[in-house]
Symmetry: C2
Subunit: 313 residues, 2 copies
């Protein structure tokens, strides 16, 4: 008697692209499809599922940016994906494909992905942070996804600081994300600060990316270095808060910004080491994601298998 | 066959007093002893246990202020109880009484107490904050104590703010605790601000308590009101962070400062409502502790019963 491998479809509706994959129970990606987030999100999702569908699929898992009501399978609010707010995504997919459909927040799902098949495999308690345009968080506790919102990017670290589009003031995301870096670069260049950044992007400072900033910093540009270190320092405040509150074994950093590890993340680790309780800081490892952009699809598929395991308890 | 009730001894080494009690499995306090935290903490603990000891006691539970290594049963660091740092409190008590001895952080244990027999009984997911000289936290998740440090008072809410004795900068505790209120009152009175507080404490402004501040505020004193509202506003920043990260069903507030609920906590709730994600704020209840100072001893005893239940799994 041979045990057949189980497969699920994992969908990542977190970033600017829609990513859909057929994933095995142990986190192996069999086939994946990447589409730019079309206007018709729901139709794109359905088309991608149909392309990957095969008999005996265990279910469909979704990671969606925003505040998710897991139990009801509803997107309560999604800052970047307004078309999925209010749509009963889970119910519609369940009706159409007649298999289990699970949904969670994109960063939560990425944390689960790292646990299933990435840098979190050997840790039972870790926090994942996605460092990109915004900052998302997911918490693994005792080997399982902690069923909380984990909106770590919207923790205020400057009570009287800058207004965040979420409504809060001084959110970590306002100081340590790609959006924060770019906005600082643009405002400094508008004030005519000296910088190599002026030469990049064919002279349009409004097209600057974090990669440009990192590249300029490596070439010795002082402004770029300052922007990265500043954002890193604030990230370190966030890391210290996470360490003091959640005492994790590891913090796994994911997202585009970890490309700037040597300046941005190094500065964050240094700042966290100054701030967190020494005993807790010494017990934590701060490491990069190993799945990168695939964490979301692997984790989304894992939602299905975790749910099966829970049902079998 | 009659089922006999189980009992444990709960010890609270959190506040300025040592509290020890004989507690039943369902959280009922049979007898309790209160002593001022003597210099010889260990001897006082042993004496109190001997007074309460009876045959068939299930074990001893301890709640201790500080960072606790649960697995090893060690106090890693305790800001207010330096004599217990490094002492193998758990090992010594286990040897002496030959019964199970469990230890956890005082605020964690208070959260467990509220779950067993207090305001948390009807919630499966809540955060308890102890609002006193300092600010402590404990997290109940899916009905159980979450095994994390929960040092919520040492979450920075002002990255570039005031230095906290813990080593961090801008900790919630530095702005929203009794210590913060008193220090603000003293510094304002030293600068000769107009206030009814000048008349209290026989003219010694260095003996002012949060009760004095609250009383003066109720009598219309503007400075006192400002101090309470300021501290409350910062507490609200902390509450919003807790809500955004942990999406609890309830936040239970405990400790001496909740006596000032009508000004201090009301302001905090108002501030949190402005800052947290609306969907998450609407789902949380912010309520007072019902066990008050007894939460620690009830929770400490509960550590023993929780451990027995875990062993039986």
């Amino acid at each position: 008697m041979t045990e057949t491998k189980k497969y699920a479809i994992g969908i990542d509706l977190g970033g600017t692209n829609l990513r859909v994959a057929l994933v095995s129970e142990d986190g192996e990606i069999v086939r994946k499809i990447k589409k730019s987030s079309a206007e018709q999100v729901f139709d794109s999702v359905v088309n991608a599922i149909e392309e990957l569908m095969k008999p005996d699929i265990a279910g469909i898992g979704l990671g969606v940016a925003g505040i998710i009501d897991r139990k009801m399978g509803r997107v309560l609010t999604s800052p970047n994906l307004h078309d999925v707010e209010g749509i009963d995504l889970v119910g519609e997919l369940r009706n159409r494909f007649d298999i289990p459909v699970l949904m969670d927040n994109d960063a939560n799902v990425a944390a689960l992905g790292e646990k299933t098949g990435g840098a979190g495999r050997s840790f039972d308690n870790f926090v994942l942070l996605t460092l990109g345009t915004g900052i998302g968080g997911g918490i693994i506790h005792k080997g399982k996804l902690l069923d909380v919102s984990a909106e770590i990017g919207h923790m205020s670290i400057n009570a009287d600081g800058e207004k965040c589009p979420c409504g809060n003031i001084g959110c970590l995301e306002t100081y340590a994300s790609a959006r924060a870096m770019i906005s600082k670069a643009v405002s400094m260049l508008e004030r005519d600060s000296e910088s190599l950044l002026k030469e990049c992007c064919k002279g349009s400072i409004y097209k600057i990316t974090p990669e440009d900033i990192y590249k300029s910093a490596l070439e010795g540009d002082r402004l770029s270095r300052e922007i990265l270190k500043d954002a890193g320092r604030y990230l370190g405040v966030g890391l210290a808060n996470i360490i003091n509150i959640l005492s994790p074994e590891a913090i796994i950093l994911a997202g585009g910004l970890i490309g700037a590890w040597n300046i941005y993340v190094q500065e964050a680790i240094r700042e966290a080491s100054r701030r967190a309780f020494r005993e807790l800081f010494e017990a934590v490892r701060i490491i990069p994601s190993s799945l990168g952009d695939d964490a979301g699809i692997v984790g989304a598929a894992s939602l299905v298998f975790t749910d099966i395991a829970r049902g079998a308890d």
